[in-house]
Symmetry: C2
Subunit: 139 residues, 2 copies
DNA sequence: TTACTTGCAAATCGTTTGCGATATA
DNA sequence: TATATCGCAAACGATTTGCAAGTAA
C-alpha cells in the first residue's frame, strides 16, 4: 500500500498539493491538471491521477466520491458537507457542522459496522437560479 | 426530453421495471441486465441502459448517483437512505426516516435553492464484518 | 403506416496501468 | 546508486450513441 512506501516529495506532487490547497472549489482531476499545468508544462494527466490517489491515501487531501460522473478532490480536511448545483455541476461547501448523531441513529437500527457517512445537498446555485428564472420569464 | 415523447410500453421496458420492483437490492445496470436476460434472452445491455434512463425520467424508478464506480437503480420510490459496504460494495436500505430538517438547516445558511439531499452511510456489512474479524484473528 | 425502440457495435468518458526514461533521497 | 516517479500511450470499465431493422399503437 502506498502509505507504507518510501515516498518522495517530487515537484509534481508538491505542486498538486499546493494548487489543491489554494482553491476552495472542489476540482475534478482534469481541473487540477489544468491548474498544475500552468506551473509544470510537461506534467501528464496520469501523474495527476496517481498523485491525487497517493495524497488522499496519505490523508493530505480528501477524495470526494459523491454524485456526478467525475470524482472530485478537496484540500480541506475538516469534516464538512457539500452542495452541488444540479445545473452547472459546481460544488461548494455547506457551513453546517457534521451530524455524527446520524451515524448513532443508524447504529441502533442496523447490523452494519458504521464507519462514516456522506451527505450531499442538491440545488441550484445562485447564478443558475437567476438564469433559470430569467429564461422561464421569457417564455 | 423523454418525458414529453410518445412512449411505448415495450416488453423490454415492462420487464426491466418488473425486475427492478421485484428486488430490494439496488442493482447496477449490468445486474439488471443479468436478471432481465433470463426472461428476454436477446435483450441488449444498451437497451437496459436506455430504459433505466427513461424510467427514471418518468419517475417510475430512482437513479442512485452515490459513491462507487457504478450507478445503481432502485424500484422503491419512497425517500430513504442507503448504506454501502466498503468491502463488498453491496447497498442496503437504512430504516431511518428522511431528515428534511437538514435541508431547512442548509437553506438558512446558503443562497442556493435547495432541491434535495442524498445521504449515504459507509460501513461493513455483517457478512464482511465477520470475515474481517476472522482474518485478523488468524494473523 | 409511422416513428419509437431495439440489437449490435463502435464511440466516448473518466480513470488506471505498463513501460522505458528520469530524477529524488 | 537504487528505486520511486515521471511522461506517454494504450488499456480499461461504465455508459452512451449511430444505425439499420423491428414493432407497438
Amino acid at each position: 500500500m502506498a502509505a507504507s512506501q518510501n515516498l518522495r516529495m517530487t515537484r509534481q506532487r508538491q505542486v498538486i498539493l499546493e494548487e489543491l490547497r489554494k482553491v476552495n472549489s472542489h476540482p475534478s482531476a482534469d481541473q487540477v491538471y489544468e491548474r498544475v499545468r500552468r506551473r509544470l508544462r510537461r506534467i501528464s494527466l496520469g501523474t495527476v491521477y496517481r498523485n491525487l490517489e497517493i495524497l488522499s491515501q496519505l490523508g493530505l487531501i480528501r477524495k470526494l466520491d459523491l454524485g456526478g460522473t467525475q470524482r472530485r478532490f478537496d484540500g480541506d480536511l475538516t469534516t464538512h458537507y457539500h452542495i452541488r448545483c444540479i445545473k452547472c455541476g459546481c460544488v461548494e461547501d455547506v457551513p453546517l457542522e457534521a451530524r455524527t448523531n446520524l451515524e448513532d441513529a443508524v447504529r441502533s437500527v442496523t447490523d452494519y459496522r458504521i464507519i462514516g457517512h456522506s451527505l450531499e445537498f442538491i440545488g441550484l446555485c445562485p447564478r443558475c437560479n437567476k438564469k433559470k428564472s430569467a429564461r422561464t420569464k421569457g417564455r
